[in-house]
Assembly symmetry: C2
Amino acid sequence: MLKVQASIAALEYKPNRVAQRLRSTSKKTKLLGLIIPDIQNPFFVDVVRGVEDYAYQHNFAVMIGNFGQDEKKEKLYLDILQSENIDGLIVAPIHGKDKGIENLVKKNIPVVCIDRGLTEIDVDVVKVDNEQGAFNAIDHLLSIGHRKIAFISGNFKIPTYIERLAGYKRALSDYGVAYNAHLVFAKDTDYKSGFEIANKILDLKERPTAIFSGNNLLTLGALEAIHSRNIKIPEEISIIGFDDMPWSISLNPPLSAVRQPGFDMGRKAAEMLYERIQNPNSKKEKVILKTELILRKSTARIE
Amino acid sequence: MLKVQASIAALEYKPNRVAQRLRSTSKKTKLLGLIIPDIQNPFFVDVVRGVEDYAYQHNFAVMIGNFGQDEKKEKLYLDILQSENIDGLIVAPIHGKDKGIENLVKKNIPVVCIDRGLTEIDVDVVKVDNEQGAFNAIDHLLSIGHRKIAFISGNFKIPTYIERLAGYKRALSDYGVAYNAHLVFAKDTDYKSGFEIANKILDLKERPTAIFSGNNLLTLGALEAIHSRNIKIPEEISIIGFDDMPWSISLNPPLSAVRQPGFDMGRKAAEMLYERIQNPNSKKEKVILKTELILRKSTARIE
DNA sequence: ATTTGTAATGTAAACGTTTACATTTATCAA
DNA sequence: TTGATAAATGTAAACGTTTACATTACAAAT
């Protein structure tokens, strides 16, 4: 290790990663794929940061694709990343039976699912206990007297929202409150959707006394709808949602929320992917993290 | 175009992008690099979305690196993306004399700078008129009677903040108010930094009547500091910052801000990069977009 | 049936590495 | 000095495309 090494240093030779990747059967090329549903959602940004944090420490590059809940776009990114010969993929499947991802797993490409799992196939997953998280929120609302609680959900083909609905139902049933399907609304998972659905809810003849919203963006959208009508939170309506944000405390009013550890999820997923790459045949792992109910000022007792 | 094409379709043949990229001299391989300073900042998320929007339409994949204002990390991503043989790069340089980016430009790799330019070399740029944006904010504050206006800035090696400071100074001088260096603070560009600096400002013996904060995250951090002391906005202190957010209206109070068109900037940058890839020797372009002052309820007149 | 032009297909080299092996050079003990 | 062993270097094939060119197949025109 003399003349050659010296020249390598002298000429500042940088190996061409494309050629490396073409030639070698993975394990050295250091490229991770990350496919997320919505980069606008601060929760997924936390996930990205977690993944990146781990990747950076282990000298991986991360190639990110953002599919905006569009199945075609998800498929495109899957194809692209695959033909980029990535070493592994972290992905939040658009639904539980995602064939594209199933295929990758079957081809033995290391995959770890994040936020949502796959139902038809055994795969590594890191997610949160959505059912319990939703349960805790609704349980809190019920405990302070609310009985008419609307749920602003994301599309029910997304596994996360199915689980959150289950938690919503379980809490209701624990309190002997009948489930009313007219109180649950699902459309997209973005700001606009939260705004629109909240408006519908506020127009209901018998207005709910509380709103449970399915994510960050839905909550923020709902907040705008409520404020634009000058309805007071929590005096006139309570609201609590999934996902906490650093600035939740600065919202009007400081927002109560179900916190998910996004950064930790991302980091854990990257770590699991790393393990999977090293050890393709070890038993698949499911990691289910806990949520935390953070009570601030957006919910109040009613008689 | 018969048997071969038929087989291609029948076997669902997907060309290997790595091999394509290795062999061909760019222009067909469809990979863009995007290096941004802080993916947690919603402004840059808008930029990412804009880039992605254009890229998706033109069948490009986007490889994102997030360097968190860490020069070493920026360099790493530059090296990685370069050895990935990207067709072009969109980057927000960490400072105006960034040698790494200069080198790419000299090597004739298509580069467009976003949010910030380069001083030593001619390069495509899309940015915003930061000087005028800051001027407008401070001018507004001055017009409603404020004279002691603190500035929570990001690090002054970042060109954006140099420009914003210039706008701050110009407005002051237009009103015949002396510039006081003790009123401008610069550390990082994140939430924590905004929180810490705001606390320092609030501790000043002669407390400023208004705060101008340099970005999204700084504003949000400052907000938390102010709220944690139960100081009323805008009665006791006014605040206005760079960057608007969809949910600014739901903050306490609804926040006034200098809006930057992040999505448009991203889209425009991607478009310019596309042009540059097609036409490597055309004249470099500088696009300077306008900011918009959005007045809500976080600033009030003082006597 | 033959020619002609065009569309379709075939061929070989090249992109910059890795891999496996062969060869050369250096190192140390006897 | 010699041999044995290890370290360093050299060599050739392979990864899956693109590129440029050569060849073959297929019409339509003669």
